[in-house]
Amino acid sequence: MKVLLVTYVDPWVRSVSTVHKWVAAGRALGHDVAVYGEPKADLPNLKFTTDLTGVDIALFVIQVVSDFPEMPHLVRVLDGITREKRVLVDLWAHYNDTVRLEHDFNHLEKLDNHQGWEWEEAIAAVSDTIVQPTLNPLRPNVGSFLFHGFAPEAVVNPYASAAEAAAAWREATPAAKPYGVVYVGNNWQRWEQMRRFLEQYAPVREEVGKAALVGWDWAERPEWAIKQGIAGIDTDPAMLARFGIELRQAVRFDEVKGLMGKGRFSPVFHRPLFRHLGYATIRTFETFEADTLPMLMLPRDYVEATYGAGALALVPGDDVGAFMKDALRRPEPYWQAVLDTRAHLARHHSFAQRFRELAALLRAGPGPSGGRG
């Protein structure tokens, strides 16, 4: 299958990691996967092309406005690939009625200069096969396709047993794991969850170890957000200082897992909008590839549906501190949950599975069809 990914890739943001996995998995599975556009020097492992001949499916991976190519590339891809061969995955939930949750949203004109109806019309104009990375899309004409996935071959330390994993984790030197907690991600619509997490972490921080937040805008509310009156990028520098949280600059996508592995624990948060819609994100799966103990700060029903029942042991619930203390005391059950979850993800959310789902979408045609994750 010749698959063209139509999106904007940047080594610092959004889905670049998943896009790499699509290209790599395609190569391994005998598919020809490329990103539409000219090669980018800072992403040497991605295949790019502007050759539209023989494309079986063009997957428009849409998060922000600039994921649609600029003219004239835009019209070349729309004219060059027939509508039946186009699938659009709406990764940021734009193809919905306007949703407001806490400070989060799926449409905000002052942020991207476009209104909700403009998003809907653009998406509907590209394809009749619109999918979203959730098991339960809100609209009947939207299909389920998680897009992101788990790459077993990309697991940093694929332990053979929970005992081995627990031993390695417990005995890791300070140089190998200098942090108790590492969260890699930008401060975008996650502050409330992060604040609650840190408040529960604080009482146990001496036992757990130092926490680090890696990404943009944790140190202070950015000037542009203040000027535009955009909330949800809040922070509390005094609290972060009080808890001794280390703030680090954002890293490239290919440094994320290595950095997560520098901590014993890595929480997985979904922004309120995605939480509400049951969306999957890069970090939903990628955290399980890192050498860290994931803490699933997600609804239990979502965890069970996506990760399998075994992953429920990785949901701290309302007592993050107790979860950490218990994991430090007896890590093996927790690592068993991690290994079980990795196995579940490998069975249900591998990129081989995603390719099968994509092919099913193509066969089924428009509407909410195959490819349910």
Binding site: V65, S66, F68, M71, R76, L78, D79, A122, A125
Partner: protein, 363 residues
Amino acid sequence: MNILIVNEYAANAGNTHAITNYMRVGAELGHNIAIYGPPQPDVVDGWYLPPEMQHARFSTDLKAFDRIVFFFESKLRHVKRLPEVAMLGTFPRKHRYILDADGRFNPYIVVDGYDRSHKDEAEQALWRGYYEALADKIIKPTIARDKDPRVTTLPFYGFDPSEVIKPEHVPPKKYDILHVGHNWYRWKDMSEEILPALEQIRGEIAGDIGFLGLWWDGVPEWAHAMGLEPAYRVDTERFRKLRIKVEPPVNYTEVVHAMSTGRINIFTQRPYLAHVKHLTLRYFEEFCADTIPLLMLSNDLAEAVYGPAGRELTLPGRAAEKILDALRRPDYYRGLVEDVRKYMLANHSFRHRVEELVTALSD
């Protein structure tokens, strides 16, 4: 036919004004013509728009239209990305058209040694590549034939007799000779034709000479750094010696009124656009004013646009003689102006324009 126009909407721009005439006349002929976008205010920058502009139709309902016409003027990228996606996903290529409103779909050429079609050949390639990607059919507002089978030529702009200034609105004459327009690639015409003529006959002209527009009082400071000095070149000393009064530009809605303050109006066009016989709104606007337009156009082009009377209104090679003659025999020249208006009514009405456009957009 349902035609959606995508342009750089500006209430005080000539193209937008022309499009509203298409809407008005098109509706009379059973066609639905609208500009893409939400409804726009009737007041822009404190100016009330003329009645026809207040009735401009806007729409964002792409499915209500079966043809889309992209206007390109100074900028290639003037449509927001998401509407652009929606437009391109909705209208198949065979129903997309480009109106080349600024003469950009041409080879790179330099005219008169200083005006040019594009900044350089790279820019020309960029524009051409963009156009060719977007549509197969390009409409040029020119009366010249084009060998390229993708190109349809039609004048696009037109003459609306209701826009001829009413006698009761004609202002007193302030100038014997007037030029209304900015100094933008005009210096060759001025330095080689108009100013020598005025220098020759200045003593015989009792009244004032006026230039209304930007950059007649000096080359803007930033023009040198941008390599645009030739576009704005002017000799203020020659202007001073000729006692030319340089006045600020007038608002778009005031152009016809302002031109009517001159007994004679000199019409110039930037050399590149004249070379490709690119018609602009001003070609028709000149004859809506209460004045005698004298044209810096070739005889053949003047006749092609204005009919036989147009030949008698041209200046090249005889500017001094023509200006004096027009000042001395205004009634004769007013007769020529009337002849031109009749010719334009017969050949350049917006009814003609709409029919030509619909024909061009038909499969």
